[in-house]
């Protein structure tokens, strides 16, 4: 638990070709990269959720220790996050090797071995799984889309942008410059509170990640279909439910992780007699 995390920057190993600055830079790169890894169930970065316990860089190897909010977190979702973390880190320049360690999970040895050997979820679980987790991932990405859609609609509604107007707009008609929202179709320029701007940004960045550069602004599924005009109210209600569900769950996970850290820390103290 208390091995050198490289944070001090003082303890370059003898024989290491890497300078302290190199190491710090790589570590910062690694952390930045990890902040793009999302918990698919919660639609929040694993760094924000507190799942990243430790990052260290020794020579060209980056090692990441991860902990989930409970011992029982579903292996499928855990696997998605670990795979994403592994692949994202592998793409960083200057990194030769990535070592992922999941701690305190009921299936940690099996998952760690498979992730670090580059195996897929199906290869890891064999007959216990029936299909790949891509379909499940899709379900949750759609929930995330709807949750973010609700955030965007409620944020802009505060400034008098009606949902009907949003429905008529194209993706290119809305732009966010800092906290200024440029709504082109009506020739308006609105300054948003940072929180509201954040909601618009979250939705827009999701669309960008989907690879969308044009088309309707409001989309209801990953194919980019807009919601039906006659069902706008129902769409809004269901996307509100999705947002509440993700938010509630994220709140629970954070609270559980906090309780868990406290407990494990005191257990650690007990066992060393301190």
């Amino acid at each position: 638990m208390s091995r050198d995390d490289g944070a001090s920057g003082q303890s370059v190993r003898p024989g290491s070709a890497m300078t302290t600055e190199d190491r710090e830079r790589l570590k910062a790169d690694a952390l930045r990269a990890l902040s793009s890894v999302m918990d698919p169930e919660l639609d929040e970065p694993i760094t924000e959720l507190g799942f990243v316990k430790n990052v260290s860089v020794v020579d060209g190897t980056v090692s990441v220790d991860l902990v989930m909010s409970t011992f029982w977190c579903s292996p499928n979702f855990v696997y998605m996050m670990l795979e994403d973390a592994r692949d994202t880190l592998s793409r960083l320049s200057g990194i030769q090797r990535v070592r992922i360690t999941l701690e305190g999970h009921h299936d940690a040895p099996r998952i760690n071995e498979a992730i670090n050997a580059g195996r897929s979820f199906l290869e890891c679980y064999g007959s216990e799984a029936q299909a790949d987790i891509a379909a499940l991932n899709r379900v949750f990405r759609e929930k995330a889309l709807r949750s973010r859609l609700h955030g965007m609609i409620t944020a802009t509604a505060k400034y008098g942008v009606p949902i009907d107007a949003l429905l008529d707009m194209r993706l290119g008609d809305i732009e966010l410059e800092g906290t200024r929202l440029l709504v082109r179709s009506e020739g308006r320029s609105i300054a948003l509170d940072p929180g509201d701007a954040g909601h618009v940004f979250r939705y827009m960045s999701f669309l960008r990640k989907l690879g969308r550069n044009g088309g309707p602004l409001l989309i209801w599924d990953l194919e980019g279909n807009p919601p039906d005009r006659t069902e706008l109210k129902a769409v809004l209600n269901r996307s509100r439910s999705a947002r509440l569900s993700l938010g509630f769950n994220a709140e629970l996970c954070k609270a559980l992780l906090l309780a868990r850290m406290g407990r494990e820390q005191s257990e650690g103290l007990d066992s060393t007699g301190v």
Binding site: E41, T70, F71, W72, C73, S74, P75, N76, F77, H106, F121, L122, Y125, E128, A129, Q130, A131, D132, I133, L136, V139, K143, N237, R238, R240, S241, A242, L244, S245, L246, G247, F248, N249, E251, L252, A255, L256, L258, A259, R260, G262, R263
Partner: protein, 369 residues
């Protein structure tokens, strides 16, 4: 029993039925596979610590095993609960004698058959033997009409199978339907599916409530109380509960947000009232995950924020609170509240613990006698 006093000073009695309670045994000598047994109760303890007010946090040792007397005092003595419904949890893969074995739980009920409401559990992987056992439990334990009317379904239970481990089952399988048929035959009309981690096969959505939808549609005369309201799939749960009128919201876990995360609780409550209405929501503390006392006090005092009232067009009125705290469960289990009020006023538990109805003021002032 509580006497709730509204902000207008109007008082009314509320009979409290806690649909979700345990007397578990997670003591060390009961650990069969220590890593898993400890992992299980540690996770419960983290839930307990994460959401309880600090003065209600137990020490770990007490949490492992608190026993019958403590439970009676907490639930009925301090916790305002009039009747507590057991939700047995087997877990023989983790614990030697099970975590909350129904036959052990039944012994507590037999001593207090008007206080504890007995149910059992089933698992389709137990085949014909499991059905016979269920029939025997229904025969032995239905000492009042409201006993053995429900079964807790823990679809993520681990079990030895063909020399390996099977990590769960689905409610929409042929084998599960055979059990639902058996339940109908035995008069076990309420199914309480828990949605929790990890389910087999592992690639499926662990909390997917889709299988409840299939079962609820196929068995319209059975009732399904989805415990933990399908967390974290609330939107899917709300959707199926809107379609299937025999699906109910079990508030265990969700209601515990009320103290430390009141805004989330309010949004959740508004959401449930919007989709399901006030008649299909049940109060549950999940004792000893949480103590019912603080939950009930907070719940009676809780005011739905104005913005949510406006947005959802719902309110959490005293009438609705009364339904959620007891009337909805009473209707489901066939409990006659008026009759039980009279009976429990002077039963052995009330006498031993000197239980009197307590006034809780929604105006926000502390409880008085």
């Amino acid at each position: 029993m509580i006497i709730a006093e509204g902000a207008d000073g109007k008082r009314q009695e509320m009979f409290v039925i806690d649909y979700h309670t345990h007397i578990w045994n997670a003591s060390r000598e009961n650990w069969l596979r220590p890593n898993l047994a400890k992992g299980w109760i540690d996770c419960f303890y983290d839930y307990h610590k994460a959401l309880s007010p600090p003065e209600y946090v137990w020490d770990y040792e007490t949490y492992l095993y608190y026993g019958e007397e403590r439970a009676i005092e907490d639930l009925f003595g301090k916790g305002y609960v009039d009747m507590a419904i057991f939700q047995p949890t087997q877990l023989n893969y983790f614990y030697k004698k099970g975590f909350g074995d129904p036959d052990i739980t039944a012994q507590y009920m037999l001593k207090h058959p008007d206080r504890f409401v007995m149910g059992s559990r089933w698992d389709p992987r137990e085949g014909e033997a499991g059905k016979e056992k269920l029939a025997e439990q229904a025969r032995k334990y239905r000492v009042r009409p409201f006993h053995m009317k429900h079964t807790k379904l823990y679809t993520a239970e681990w079990m030895e199978e063909n020399g390996g481990v099977s990590r769960g089952w689905r409610l929409d399988s042929k084998e599960a339907f055979a059990y639902l048929d058996k339940c109908k035959e035995l008069g076990i009309t309420i199914q309480v599916p828990h949605k929790g981690p990890t389910i087999w096969p592992l690639d499926k959505d662990a909390f997917d409530v889709g299988d409840v939808d299939v079962a609820a549609t196929s068995y319209p005369d059975l009732r399904f109380v989805v415990t933990h309201i399908g967390l974290p799939r609330i939107e899917d749960f709300a959707w199926i509960a809107t379609q299937d009128k025999n699906v109910y919201a079990g508030m265990a876990v969700a209601i515990a947000f009320i103290h430390n995360r009141p805004r989330y609780f309010a949004e959740m409550m508004a959401e449930l009232l919007y989709w399901l209405g006030p008649d299909r929501i049940l109060f549950g503390s999940d004792y000893a995950l949480w103590h019912p006392k603080w939950i009930i006090e907070d719940f009676v005092r809780f005011k739905m924020p104005e913005d949510l009232k406006k947005e959802y067009g719902v309110d959490l009125t005293m009438e609705t609170k009364k339904k959620i705290l007891g009337e909805n469960a009473a209707r489901l289990w066939g409990i006659d509240i008026a009759q039980m009020k009279t009976k429990l006023r002077n039963d052995d538990v009330a006498k031993a613990l000197k239980i009197k109805p307590q006034v809780i003021r929604a105006g926000g002032r502390k409880r008085s006698r």
